[in-house]
Amino acid sequence: MEIASQILKYIPSGDSAFIIKVDNEISPEINQTIRKLLVRIEQERIEGVVDFIPSYNELLVCYDPLIIGYRKLLDRLRLIDREIDSVKLPESSVIQIPVYYGDDFGPDLNEVADFNSLSIDEVIGIHSSTNYLVYMLGFTPGFCYLGGMDARIATPRKHSPRIKIPAGAVGIADKQTGIYPIESPGGWQLIGQTPLKLFDPERKPEFLIQPGDFIRFVPVSIDEFKRMTNEVREGIYKLEKSNCT
């Protein structure tokens, strides 16, 4: 990959965070550079660095200025960033997300099909036949920004947002698809529901998915959905993962 370190831009975000910005666009390659930076900086265990927010094309590095001043931090980061091309990222997993599509669990599935002049089965088929790259998490705890949705099922948001969408709802908004990790209001077209809890503060790990993973939606029957819901509740559900090769 040809992204060389000299095009990284360092921008202060106040006096306790730095933004490291790669380029002003969304692409899997740029996003991979961000993840490499994160891996490399974490290896360095810089005292005073307290948190990171990787996004599409930026890495926000939060630090405590009483422990490390910005000049010293900047010097250390610049030394490291020359080495990021050689960072080996852990192999990406494809995480299977079972979804029961339609009925009461996907009240807008018909609308998505009608809008795109497809049958319901075609919508489900298209939605569940892609590995979606998790570019980043944000918005609410555990919410994944996914790339790679097929334009054939793109559908505008609802005119008026719903007040309450349950955790696990799977939806489409314009060219994006996603899963609501916690109950929240929202305007997405809801097409299905996963029995999985993307976020559970009482579980280890609290989050099922991390930046750089891929997810794949797998259609399940209502019986499978009910069985999985019980398994998740009892903490015995086994997440299905495969390597992305």
């Binding site: 975000s13 106040g14 006096d15 927010i53 930026e58 200025p65 910005y70 944000g138 609410t140």
Partner: protein
């Protein structure tokens, strides 16, 4: 075991510490005290670790009784606290006896009081913090704001706490008109010179749409250049000032989302977070630009004074 009982919760009272770090990459907000300086001072006054959990109250105070004797301290907003009807001082170690009641007569200045209890509030730790994140019902006391009848356990104290008071000149001046300092943000070039002039010379009012997530301000429009208000979603830090499509600022605070899609015009400096956290709806704020060096210097100097004060005490 020592505990406190809530007889009336006040408008919004939550358990907070410095917040939940290390999970922002998963979209988990930091939360924690809006005014972390006041939280820290209150903890120091009762012999706690600076990061122990306290109660953060908002605009109106709670009524609380104690099941055993102990020490408390209140810092931040002045809501006229009293114990069994007798006025007590802010910024000072206060001894309390079993059965006594702490109440608040009404707001004098500021927006949020921090009540520290000797031993700290001993609610369960979730993801390395006791802070309450209301939107996802995480941490604090059952993940929610306190209600009448709640009983919260306190940690034990195994040392003698001497009564101390923070010198008046160390306490920031909490007023309803503040001038606060900012550093230019990553998208400062997305704005025209008139917009930036408006931002740096005008007064902005805190709207009543403000909460722990962010302060919405109203005032002269800060116009974007042709590129508009949207950016590729990216990380935001405490005190980031976003400008929405209608040209009005939002200051992102403790419960901020980890990422956002609006242009980031500026960032509040750490030293002035305490001032903003004590502003309430309809209060006013003006912004002054400062360099990153100066911002960190101010924080460093405050820390030196703080260390001196507490060593001296």
């Amino acid at each position: 075991m020592a505990s406190i009982i809530i007889h009336s919760p006040g408008l919004l009272t939550t358990v907070q510490d410095f917040g939940r770090y290390g999970y922002q990459r998963f979209g988990m907000p930091v939360s924690g005290a809006m005014d972390s300086l006041s939280l820290r001072l209150a903890n120091l006054l009762v012999g706690n670790h600076p990061n122990d959990a306290c109660l953060e109250t908002t605009l109106t105070g709670p009524e609380i009784s104690f099941t055993s004797k102990g020490v408390i301290a209140i810092c931040g907003a002045d809501m006229n606290p009293s114990i069994n009807g007798k006025t007590i001082q802010l910024n000072k170690t206060i001894e309390v006896k079993a059965g006594q009641t702490l109440s608040f007569e009404g707001l004098n200045y500021g927006c949020r009081s921090y009540i520290a209890f000797g031993g700290g509030i001993d609610t369960p730790i979730t993801m390395e913090s006791r802070s309450t994140y209301l939107r996802a019902k995480v941490g604090g006391f059952e993940g929610r704001a306190l209600k009448t009848g709640d009983e919260l356990p306190l940690g034990s104290i195994n040392k003698k706490i001497k009564s101390i008071e923070i010198p008046k000149d160390f306490i920031p001046k909490y007023q309803s008109n503040q001038i606060v300092q900012i550093i230019a943000g990553p998208e400062v070039r997305s704005f025209g010179s008139e917009g930036i002039r408006n931002f740096l010379t005008s007064e902005y009012a805190i709207s009543d749409q403000s909460d722990r997530m962010g302060y919405r301000l109203t005032g002269p429009t800060i116009k974007h250049q042709s590129n508009g208000a949207d950016i590729i979603s990216a990380g935001i830090s405490i005190g980031t000032i976003q400008i929405t499509g209608n040209g009005q600022p939002i200051i992102l605070m403790a419960d901020r989302q980890t990422t956002g899609g609006y242009t980031r015009l500026a960032n509040l400096i750490s030293n002035d977070l305490t001032l903003v956290a004590q502003l309430k709806p309809s209060d006013r704020v003006r912004f002054r630009e400062v360099s990153l060096e100066k911002a960190q210097e101010q924080l460093f100097n405050r820390e030196l004074i703080l260390k001196k004060v507490f060593r001296y005490l």
